[in-house]
């Protein structure tokens, strides 16, 4: 071998050695302390639950308890994060494809799930939230629309109209000179109705549908009903009593209690939302709310629905299922009652001594809802017709 070749191999050898040293050093640096200690376990399974604002406080409290209990799945801890969002807002975000896909969604009503499935089915070829099987949507609590009425106003309304229903509220809304026109004092001003913004909050949209049910005397509303000119005039007059929609969209029960009769003397809201704010309203304004139930009842079943698309992993879907079972457990269902929700667990009643249903019974709250007629879920066409009418006639009034 010539001297030149020896030199060549020496240089190549040195270069290889340097590379090997480098790789070894890199490996040591990269591993750092882990070279000396056992490997760390894989990170937690993080799931994101989008929950309707009216059920959020209960679900969030349950998530905190769940997280602190260190639930493990396949060797990994589960971490639950809950994001509040009204069902209608979520629907709009799904529609606009601006929704960050959650692991699971708890809207106010099952028919919102069906509406989202209808949005995605044409492009995905299947439902994104299953309605049967292990991952099917299951109700986790129940509530219904009811009226919360400040006591002083309730007395005048009952005196004037005999009972409190949509027609009485309509007549109060069109009374000449407002409250003085139906026997109230002048400083109450005009009659003020609080319902959440129908284009942001499903309870607001449902309130309009409930009013339609009473107007037509039946629980199923068609597009033709919504287009009826006499009905539209009647609904316009009723909705003219709503002072504003912008601040009542997110937390209508809080608005009813926080602004008192000045912002809304009568509110049609979820029963749970009213119950949660009964004490606060009485404390802040010195008079309680009385609760009344409409003739046509609108139920909200809060379905826990797991996203089936590929945006979430199988482990995340199973973790969501685990959390769903937790929400349905006896202990967590019992805690739902404190939030004014009616549990779905057949062994949990709402008539325990410290239940808000019992505490406020003398103010009109009932533990067992009488067999009123339930409003039927409207079709997407009916919803859209209502929303279009609202946008054109009320939101832009």
């Amino acid at each position: 071998m010539s001297r030149t070749r020896v030199v060549f191999f020496v240089i190549v050898g040195a270069a290889v050695l340097i590379v090997l040293i480098g790789l070894a050093a890199g490996g040591v640096f990269e591993q750092g302390p882990s070279a000396l200690v056992p490997p760390t376990p894989p990170g937690p399974i993080e799931i994101r639950i989008v929950a309707a604002s009216t059920i959020y406080p209960w679900v969030d409290e349950a998530a905190s308890a769940f997280n602190s209990e260190e639930h493990i799945m396949e060797g990994q801890p589960i971490r639950v994060q809950v994001v509040p969002m009204d069902g209608l807002e979520a629907l709009r975000r799904f529609d606009a494809q601006t929704m960050e896909i959650p692991t699971a969604w708890i809207p106010e009503s099952r028919y919102l799930v069906e509406l989202v499935n209808a949005v995605y089915k044409p492009q995905m070829g299947r439902d994104v939230f299953l309605t049967d099987g292990e991952y099917r949507a299951r109700p986790i609590a129940i509530s219904l629309l009811a009226w919360g009425v400040y006591q002083s106003r309730a007395r005048v309304l009952e005196e004037a109209f005999g009972e409190i229903n949509w027609q009485a509220l309509h007549d109060a809304a069109v009374a000449q000179d407002g409250w003085p026109g139906i026997g109230g004092p002048a400083d109450w001003g005009y009659f003020k109705l609080l319902i959440p913004s129908p284009n942001r909050n499903i309870a607001g949209l449902s309130a309009m549908i409930s009013a339609a049910g009473e107007y037509f005397g039946r629980p199923d509303i068609s597009v033709a009903d919504v287009m009826d000119e006499d009905f539209q005039q009647w609904l316009y007059e009723l909705m003219s009593a709503v002072p504003e929609f912008s601040s009542a969209g997110a937390y209508p029960g809080e608005s009813l209690a926080l602004f008192g009769p000045s912002g809304g003397e009568v509110g049609q809201l979820l029963e749970s939302d009213i119950l949660t704010h009964m004490a606060g309203a009485a404390q802040r304004w010195g008079e309680p709310l009385l609760v009344y139930y409409p003739r046509f009842v609108t139920w909200f079943d809060y379905p826990f629905t797991i996203w089936i698309g590929p945006e979430t992993t199988a482990a995340e879907k199973n973790a969501a299922l685990e959390f769903e079972h937790y929400l349905l457990s006896l202990e967590v269902q019992t805690r739902a009652v404190n939030y004014g929700l009616r549990p779905v667990h057949d062994q949990v009643g709402v008539d325990l001594p410290d239940s808000p249903f019992v505490e406020w019974e003398e103010y009109g709250v009932v533990t067992v809802v009488p067999r009123y007629t339930a409003m039927r879920s409207p079709s997407r066409d009916v919803l859209e017709t209502f929303l279009t009418w609202f946008e054109r006639n009320i939101a832009e009034r």
Partner: protein, 564 residues
């Protein structure tokens, strides 16, 4: 052909070379690993220019009227050392912005959350976003909470309110407006419509003109009787302004003589009375609005850690400690378990505020009606004659003057409609009238813009002569129906005027008595500006001084334009 010698390669030389190269490569590898490790430990991202990326900080824009409360809440939150599960600090950075500024900047990404004075603005942000991305269903505002509320009231000195019958009988917008019409000495103000209080006051005038408390329509707004009514009322406004907090600060500094009444939130009555004043909150019997101070997250390129920061901050400001602080500041806490009439509450032991009020709100009209109200307001509000007095001395050379040109442009763009008159006086060794007062028609706007573009720096600082020239011109054949004002800006110390300060002060004091009242607003621009002289100058007329820098001068002139 010459003798060319081939270089001779020796074994020793090659081995030496190899050793040197090897040592260098090993050294470079070690250095590279060291830098990588150090940068990792220090949190520096080497691929993004060396600056640490602070994705955990949530920038929150808040409206000025609650600055004291909000900044205290933010400070408490930041100092509590909240962290994420992996130890990342969760921090809030607060930036002050008018609600209209939030609407204008919401899609710019400079802040991720907002706390305006009213939820009304959140709807405006959603609408602006939907418009921006071209999808009606798009929503920008996501999670929101309330932490403090306060009703909009008419803030009045007790003796004025008692003169009008308070508290024996309920007072309202119509009483205020009647008083303003019948008493030429009665001075009142409402903020511009870029805040909830200003918007309410404007809407209340249109409601009063239309004789309604709800169902205000575009037809009502454009009805000639309503327009005349509003115009007559607006003639009684002393001047407008950027917000209720600016008025409150002026009252805090100047006391009883500043104004007889202004429109603002109830909390300001508590705030000012703590300073020793005797003001009362009049809850308008026709109805009012609530400032509900939402904290809302904007769903635009948020990091997970920013969402977590929002959540923690929302939990903090609605929690018991913060809610107590909210009450101490004179707001009604959103937590309904906090008793407004409990021990130590600012609502107890005073009749200046009444927690059982208000009884009614005015109905908030839809977006189209509000748009028409705002548009029409420009044609009914009190018109203004304003002189811009601009320092172009030598010290203004370069970037300083460039920023001022930009700010002056913003100012004239902020004056809408074609009823206000604007003029411009430039001063250096002496004052020069560059643009006579003239209505801002398109051609006059262009002429004024050309003047602004042509401003050059050089010479001394004849500040007092410049103000004197503008003042004389405003007092020449004045229209008493108009607001008369001077906006003077200087970056240096007076050194070239023929007038002394005393002479000018006397001239203004006497002129404001015998002629029309002229208000002077001043911008002390940069570190060398003579703040004291400006403060004394504006003090004669009840105006105000702002401290300007090249960074804020644009925003400052935008704010000043809201006074007209």
């Amino acid at each position: 052909m010459g003798d060319v010698r081939e270089p001779r390669v020796t074994l020793t030389g090659l081995i030496g070379l190899a050793v040197v190269v090897s040592v260098l490569v090993v050294f470079c590898c070690m250095a590279w690993f060291a830098v990588q490790k150090l940068s990792s430990w220090m949190g520096i991202d080497l691929t993004s220019g060396g600056e640490p990326e602070d994705s955990a900080t949530l920038v929150v824009a808040y409206s000025p009227e609650k600055a004291e409360l909000f900044l205290e809440l933010v400070e408490n939150f930041n100092s509590a050392g909240h962290t994420s599960a992996d130890g990342t600090p969760l921090r809030i950075r607060a930036v002050e912005l008018s609600p209209q500024g939030m609407v204008d900047g919401a899609i710019g990404g400079e802040f991720q959350a907002v706390s305006p004075d009213s939820s009304f603005w959140l709807s405006q942000m959603d609408a602006a976003y939907a418009d921006y991305i071209g999808h009606d269903d798009a929503l920008l505002v996501t999670q929101q909470v309330r932490y403090a509320v306060s009703p909009v009231v008419i803030v009045m000195w007790r003796d004025e309110a008692e003169d009008m019958g308070w508290p024996r009988r309920p007072l309202g917008w119509s009483d205020l407006l009647e008083r303003a019409r019948s008493d030429p000495d009665f001075r009142w103000s409402h903020p511009s419509t870029s805040s909830a209080a200003g918007l309410l006051a404007t809407l209340a005038e249109f409601y009063a003109g239309a004789g309604k408390t709800r169902d205000l329509t575009i037809y009502d707004v454009q009805d000639q009787y309503t327009l005349d009514y509003v115009a007559e009322l607006e003639r009684t406004v002393s001047y407008y302004g950027e917000g209720e907090w600016a008025v409150a600060r002026q009252i805090a500094e100047q006391g009883r003589g500043y104004l007889d009444a202004f429109v603002g939130q109830e909390q300001l009555v508590i705030y000012l009375n703590r300073l020793g004043y005797d003001l009362v909150a009049v809850y308008p019997q026709e109805g009012t609005f609530w400032e509900d101070h939402p904290l809302a997250l904007l769903d635009l390129n948020l990091t997970d850690i920013q969402r977590l920061t929002f959540r923690r901050f929302a939990e903090y400001i609605t929690g018991p400690e913060a809610q107590q602080l909210v009450l101490e500041h004179g707001y009604r806490p959103a937590d309904l378990t906090v008793d407004l009439e409990g021990e130590g509450s600012p609502f107890v032991g005073t009749d200046a505020v009444d927690p059982s009020q208000p009884q009614s709100v005015l109905q908030m009209p839809g977006g189209q009606v509000i748009e028409v109200v705002l548009d029409v307001w420009w044609y009914t509000k009190r018109p203004t004659d304003v002189f811009l007095v601009v320092d172009t001395s030598g010290s203004m050379e370069g970037e300083k003057l460039e920023r001022v040109r930009d700010a002056l442009t913003v100012f004239i763009n902020g004056i809408r409609g074609d009823r206000d008159r604007v003029g411009l006086v430039e001063f250096y060794d002496y004052p020069v009238l560059r643009n006579q007062l003239s209505v801002l028609s398109p051609s006059q706007r262009l002429a004024l813009q050309n003047t602004i573009n042509s401003l050059e720096a050089g010479g001394g600082t004849a500040l007092l002569d410049g103000v004197a020239m503008a003042y004389s011109l405003l007092q020449t054949n004045p229209d008493p129906e108009r607001i008369h004002a001077i906006v003077v800006m200087t970056d240096g110390i007076e050194n070239s005027s023929t007038l002394s300060f005393g002479e000018l002060a006397t001239r203004i004091s006497q002129g404001n008595q015998t002629g029309v009242p002229v208000v002077i607003f001043a911008v002390a621009y940069g570190d060398d500006a003579d703040y004291d002289t400006l403060e004394r100058l504006v003090g004669i007329t009840g105006g105000r001084v702002w401290e300007g820098t090249p960074a804020n001068i644009r925003n400052l002139y935008q704010i000043i334009s809201t006074y007209f």
